[in-house]
Symmetry: C2
Subunit: 419 residues, 2 copies
Amino acid sequence: MKQNALYAQSGGVTAVINASACGVIETARKHKNKIGKVFAGRNGIIGVLTENMIDTSRESIRDIASLRYTPGGAFGSARHKLKGLDENRAEYERLIEVFKAHNIGYFFYNGGGDSMDTANKVSLLSHRLGFPITCIGIPKTVDNDLPVTDNCPGFGSVAKYIAISTQEAALDVASMAKTSTKVFILEVMGRHAGWIAASAGLAGGKHDAPHIILFPEIAFNERAFLSRVQACVKRYEYCVIVVSEGVRHASGRFLAEANTLDAFGHAQLGGVAPTLADLVRKGLGYKYHYAIADYLQRSARHIASKVDTNQAYAVGKAAVEFAVKGENAIMPTIVRHSDKPYRWSIGKVALSRVANREKMLPRRFISRDGFRITTACKRYLSPLVRGEDYPPYANGIPAYRTLKNVAVEQRLHDEFVIG
Amino acid sequence: MKQNALYAQSGGVTAVINASACGVIETARKHKNKIGKVFAGRNGIIGVLTENMIDTSRESIRDIASLRYTPGGAFGSARHKLKGLDENRAEYERLIEVFKAHNIGYFFYNGGGDSMDTANKVSLLSHRLGFPITCIGIPKTVDNDLPVTDNCPGFGSVAKYIAISTQEAALDVASMAKTSTKVFILEVMGRHAGWIAASAGLAGGKHDAPHIILFPEIAFNERAFLSRVQACVKRYEYCVIVVSEGVRHASGRFLAEANTLDAFGHAQLGGVAPTLADLVRKGLGYKYHYAIADYLQRSARHIASKVDTNQAYAVGKAAVEFAVKGENAIMPTIVRHSDKPYRWSIGKVALSRVANREKMLPRRFISRDGFRITTACKRYLSPLVRGEDYPPYANGIPAYRTLKNVAVEQRLHDEFVIG
């Protein structure tokens, strides 16, 4: 009756994904009657396919507890999307073969929309193949773009980091504007959805910075942008701009596209700040500076939101509790009951309903002129950045811990080549 | 006998320069027998020259206390270097004219090397002109490049920010390297001296990241760099690089130089990360990401070092105490008595000895291969990032306060044009 569990992290990691891992492992350890060991995929699903798993039962109570405050992916994550069942049946069958070999009856997949789709397909196929696996998705994405759930663990901490960084940089620029930098640009993540850029609107310091937010949802209009920058500099002597990496021209082309191609000739985003700076330089001649937050924003556990770490833990815990109650092919969700005071609880949704659907920033969250967020947006965002959840420090640096990550002995002796 | 004081901030601001302002104002308020009001230059020395000063006596005790945890420059700062006495006598004479008009007998100038030079010249000239001003410099620079003082207020907090950001981003990259980004580059400030880049060496996480630090003090060698990146990726599957904006070729040309010219055709630094990324792409073909911390690093009061905020306050306080004791033309210094336990006290040095001298990272602080810091360097840096000094929060965002900044009534009715 008692079966082992498999936990895997998927896609870009966050400051709080390990808090979900902590919720899974600590809760599974409380259900010894139903769940044996919790294995983790080394580098996510790649480690499952290649039978490279980690035995989390070898970690101490203290080390598992430390996951709650350690950023990154403690077992490694992967960008590997399993395709449809027909196109990629071999990988699904391999997963189930590994599950069988290690008596794994529970699969907890911690990721975004693609991962929810994979978990759903594993559940379906495992039933068809006569080795039913309980598959529970655990939401994780800094992009906050999963549907149904009110918000996604990982997002609140990025939002807090971006709001604070914008607030602090704006104070810096304000003090120097008379004789130095007049335009400051902060480039943030968000290739499709503008949630992260929107969170800068919580900075709310003096002179109402940030003065301009550029969202992927709003087509870039160079003339309107430059005219807004100029008006702002005339009024305040400076202008603070937060721009999403995913901002596009009306044609659909990314603003940053021309600048960065990777080794294989693919457009690699991340250069929208210099592109904008160049427009400001050519069009207005103001002295500028720009920052690109990149991975700093999604790994900044030192300034994580307490609400976020609590919710990340809660969805991990709920995933296990749902599983032992016999639920299957679902994802725990965060349900908002009220904004003020902020009240939330854990709900659930069928994986089939969240797979491969993106939740964009609604138009009513963006001001009519397209450059700011609305009061409704602030009301939504504000609770998600509440509370500080500082990690422990040693000698001035966070005392993040590294797990032993002891390998599970392999039982299948064939080498699986990932397609 | 009782005279007013003038406090001005100069050059790039820091996360803790206002803590020095707090030290000055709170201490001056305790010496009412000798010091009348404390005025502040609006936008630094520019505000003095144009007789735009702020009356800090109009601020509440609570608001002055809040300076201790508010980043940026509370009264505005300026990049305005006064030239030599002969070249620019008009500006010096104007300063003294303003001081006379407002019965200012104490001048506290909070800045770097240039500002110490200015304070020294004001002191000399004021004596010659028969209106002697007590001039005390207060050290401030994120670059940590002032001589004599063991370290500079402002630096410890940037060092802490860079060490933590490197540590956190390295955990992120480590978890994704199997299938995603292999090379991560963080660009940091430091045009001449590598102190800030060096501080990344405190990150000290798993796999010994950061694996490569590039200092302005070491000429860039492309072949050695790429070979080190490759060796690192082979060993750990990823490579974390921290690069100072001031890194140069052996010829003396900045690595970033070609990339960014400002509106007036001047080289504007800040593009060394993409330059390096391009070398990695062309030379090795690895997937990369880069972050540019820019102003975020020097305004990040949310993660300021407690040692740094204490020292920033202490030099402000000491400046006033020295002044009322009759000292003149000096700068308080930070004197280190021991590393472990870290013990320090306040000393003093003649302004003439600190003006216009830069303290570079000593060669013995850089490993022989030029890519890392030594144990001696860690021993020096480590105490400076110790302790957390979190600001108060409201709704998840730091509750930084803005002062009223009430203007001092003008007494001179001629308009002064800055040269």
